[in-house]
């Protein structure tokens, strides 16, 4: 009897002590967002793309700093101004066992660009390649109508699916049961809102990931997500709230991973209308002249903002002051645009020079649930501007309302707001994306200025940017992009950049993760430290 009890006890102990060994192959992640579909071409948005990259590979992958790496393509080069040659990897198999070849790429490019239900399609990455020519089973030529230097960058956003699953758009593709990729993980169980399980795919062509299983749990509420980590229910979380970071740094059970993102927070100023609704004279009367049309006023606003104070006080130190569109280390950045100096006295002088010795009144609009601490930043800026005489009223609202009225439909239907705070993450990892969308003159045929909410326009910058977008040579293009940035952000003060967001991930001690500039959480890149 006694013997049996002891045995049972020993077995129980063994079971308990064995458990962690089995568990160690599983990584449980608490995410602040949830994908809406497994279909990698359904919705071109961060939460979906970060999940898709576990199941699907791309021709070209992006590393944690958005540098391009060989993926399903082993090499690529421009043959001439219009043609890019891609050599595909051999011996790759999809999760359903079929072989990967050029036909899958052609099919995926077509599917990504023409998904009938796509909520935001990948067409913007596939449309430049107007013809895709199959040279042999593992060589492709991508041909564009105009010289297109961003071909490789664009293709690093398109996930490759198996051509065997034609004409499938919903149902099984959404829930993942017929979504076959070549990524490091296969789709396991998915219960929306509850859990998404990923199972390691042993035939993966890249490095074998450490985790046999990755379990994703969507936990939207930030304090709950953190509590789940501290309670040990999850091993790793994203979007750690800034207020908790200082305390977590002293917690020896937790390891933080922090890094700057490609997202810049900035201000738009209406440079189009003559009678802006939310700008008033210093004594509250409607204006006849739009002060923001004067570059000196824009410059004064820029000088009146104490970026260091915002970063230290509002962002709890978790941000980097910005003087241009992308943080250090990115392609096409200008070396001549330092962070503007805080100079309230100089700002006041400039205002007086521009004809506003008593300042004026303005409302600064911003979202309160879109960017890290967005509403608090708006309030801080309103105070700083009020100090130099621009009496600023902060007005923040949920993003759903904010963006409805902040939308730019061109000169005929400009945004309602005249002065607003927004952010921009550059998916391409270089400045042509913000330059085109935020500063380029609004043009529907060119696809420019869709987010140019201040309707800034400068033909000179447009010309430089046009040239850059037609220059395939990397060095020359980088110089042109830097020049365009210097004109748009530097000389013209078309927008006022505030800071680059820094993202924080937290994991159990012993887990390391290289913070990604694209803000994505990639489960298989979380590794146990040796």
């Amino acid at each position: 009897m006694y013997m049996r009890k002891t045995l049972a006890y020993a077995a129980a102990v063994a079971a308990i002590s064995l458990a962690p060994v089995v568990q160690a192959q599983t990584l449980t992640i608490g995410l602040g967002t949830e994908p809406t579909s497994i279909d990698p071409h359904f919705h071109n948005l961060g939460p979906n793309n970060q999940i898709a990259q576990h199941f699907f590979s791309r021709l070209i992958e992006q590393d944690h700093k958005q540098n391009l790496l060989p993926g399903l393509a082993t090499s690529w080069k421009p043959l001439n101004e219009l043609t890019w040659e891609f050599k595909l990897r051999k011996g790759v198999k999809f999760h359903d066992g079929s072989d990967f070849d050029a036909d899958d790429v052609i099919f995926s490019m077509h599917r990504a660009g023409n998904h009938p239900n796509a909520r935001s399609s990948f067409g913007l990455y596939t449309k430049a390649a107007s013809t895709i020519k199959k040279i042999d089973s593992h060589t492709l030529h991508f041909i564009s109508k105009k010289p297109y230097p961003l071909m490789a960058v664009d293709l690093s956003n398109v996930h490759i699916v198996s051509a065997n699953e034609k004409d499938k758009w919903e149902g099984d593709y959404n829930n993942g049961s017929s979504a076959f990729g070549t990524g490091p993980y296969k789709v396991g169980k998915w219960v929306k809102g509850e859990v998404l399980e990923m199972v390691r795919y042993d035939g993966y062509h890249g490095d074998k990931p450490h985790w046999e299983k990755i379990i994703i749990k969507p936990i939207k509420s930030a304090p709950s997500r953190l509590a789940a980590l501290l309670a040990g229910d999850v091993d790793f979380i994203d979007q750690v709230p800034t207020v908790d970071i200082a305390r977590l740094k002293t917690n020896d059970k937790v390891q933080l991973s922090q890094g700057v993102s490609n997202r810049v927070i900035y201000l738009h100023m209406d440079q189009f209308r003559d009678n802006p609704e939310f700008v008033k004279t210093h004594d509250g009367k409607p204006v006849t002249k739009n002060p923001f049309k004067d570059v000196r006023v824009r410059k004064a606003v820029n000088m009146a903002i104490n970026r260091t104070a915002i970063v230290e006080r509002v962002m709890e130190g978790v941000a980097i002051p910005a003087g241009q569109l992308l943080p250090e280390g990115f392609f096409g950045r200008s070396a001549n645009l330092p962070v503007p100096k805080y100079d309230p006295a100089g700002a006041k002088k400039l205002l007086a020079e521009a004809g506003y010795p008593n300042g004026f009144q303005v409302t600064l609009h911003g979202p309160n649930d879109r960017y890290i601490n967005d509403a608090k930043i708006v309030e801080a800026i309103a105070q700083m501007l009020t100090r130099i005489g621009i009496k600023t009223t902060p007005d923040t609202m949920p993003k759903s309302v904010f963006f409805k009225h902040g939308k730019n439909r061109g000169p005929a239907k400009p945004p309602k707001w005249n002065f607003l705070l927004v952010g921009w993450g550059s998916g391409t990892g270089e400045p042509s994306s913000p330059l085109r969308s935020l500063l380029g003159t609004y043009s529907k045929p060119k696809g420019w200025g869709s987010s140019n909410r201040g309707l800034h326009s400068d033909p000179e910058m447009d010309k430089v940017l046009d040239e850059a977008l037609a220059t395939v040579d990397d060095n020359k293009r980088a110089a042109l992009l830097a020049k365009a940035t210097e004109i748009g952000v530097g000389r013209n003060q078309g927008i006022i950049t505030l800071h680059y967001q820094v993202n924080t991930w937290a994991g159990k001690k012993g887990l390391t993760y290289k913070a990604r500039t694209d803000e994505r959480t990639t489960g298989f890149l979380v590794t146990p430290s040796k």
Binding site: A118, K192, E194, K217, S221, P223, S224, G232, S400, G410
Partner: protein, 325 residues
């Protein structure tokens, strides 16, 4: 009774229709779902394609007529966000919310009624004072704060219970339930208690007030005088008579538990309808918002009907066929 039920169901249909109109118009006034949906880098052409694909290029009354036409065929439209039938998405999450709400209701009854009756019978005792003071806390503390405190204390500090999520589920007749597994129960306990806290306090107060009123009634005195045991007097004569207000309020509150478990579900990452609706509102997923509110109206109407029927069972003086519109 049948006439009564049929009439009520017809009324319900009208209420649901009126609701669908109000909500549909309401959500069409707020925000721009396309801006929520598209990638920042999308150009004008892409934005226009999405607007067309979602049918938002037509005026709202045309959209509404389309919606009503399809609704009669049982199709409440496709979710903007998920691209699937919105009804299906909601129904998928229903069991989790119903389970949570029922667990909370059960807690409210099991904990609330005995405590309330006790403090009603012995209003002056110290225990009663503690109970009443506790019920004030239950009323006044905000749910999200209590939820976070529960997680901090029971999951993070003590490590007794899991912090978030739903545990192992077992299918019963195709519906996944978690209360049949230990893991499921341990996940269910904290959110259910969090959701129940307000209701427990409510039931305590109702039961106490009812008891205080009824113990002085003649029939209780008569039962005592007859020499019935205290247990019988309390459990049969008193309980039966305090139940009417309790059932009414709990019935209405059950609808509230289902419709407004939003906070608890968000704090505990409980995969129910409440979390779905709050996400849908933030993302302006109009079809899901409309379908959800229509379902909730239906739930309320049905609960009211059940409460009315229960009345007639509890109190023979109430005759359902007497109720005329």
């Amino acid at each position: 009774m049948t006439v009564f039920i049929v009439r009520r169901l017809l009324q319900a249909f009208l209420v649901v229709w009126a609701m669908s109109f109000l909500v549909f118009v309401g959500v069409n006034l707020v925000g721009d779902p396309v801006e929520m949906m598209v990638n920042d880098e999308a150009d004008q052409e892409e934005r226009e394609r999405v607007i067309k694909a979602m049918g938002l290029d037509k005026p709202w009354y045309v959209q509404y007529l389309h919606f009503v036409g399809r609704a009669f065929q049982g199709d409440l439209g496709k979710s903007f966000v998920y691209g699937e039938e919105s009804l299906g998405i909601i129904v998928e999450r229903m069991p989790a919310t119903f389970e949570l709400a029922l667990a909370a209701l059960l807690m409210a009854i099991i904990i609330g009624i005995p405590l309330g009756v006790y403090s009603g019978l012995r209003p002056g005792s110290r225990i009663s004072k503690v109970i009443m003071a506790g019920s004030i806390l239950g009323f006044s503390l905000p749910t999200f704060w209590v939820g976070l405190m529960f997680i901090m204390v029971f999951a993070v500090m003590l490590g007794w219970l899991p912090s978030t999520g739903r545990g192992d589920v077992v299918p019963i007749m195709g519906i996944n339930v978690s209360f049949l597994t230990i893991d499921g129960l341990s996940h269910l306990f904290l959110p259910a208690l969090n959701l129940a806290l307000f209701k427990i306090s409510l039931v305590i107060r109702l039961a106490r007030a009812g008891t205080r009123e009824i113990v002085h009634q003649d029939y209780i005195k008569f039962a005592r005088a007859k020499g019935l045991s205290t247990n019988r007097v309390v459990l049969v004569h008193l309980m039966k008579n305090i139940m009417i207000p309790v059932v009414t309020v709990l019935g209405l509150e059950f609808g509230g538990l289902i419709a407004f478990s939003v906070v608890t579900e968000t704090v505990f990452a409980w995969p129910g309808m409440g979390k779905l609706i709050i996400d849908s509102i933030q993302n302006l997923d109009r079809p899901v918002i409309v379908a959800y509110l229509m379902i909730i109206v239906l739930v309320f109407v049905i609960i009211n009907l059940v409460v009315d029927v229960l009345y007639s069972v509890l109190d023979p003086r109430v005759r359902l066929q007497d109720v005329k519109a």
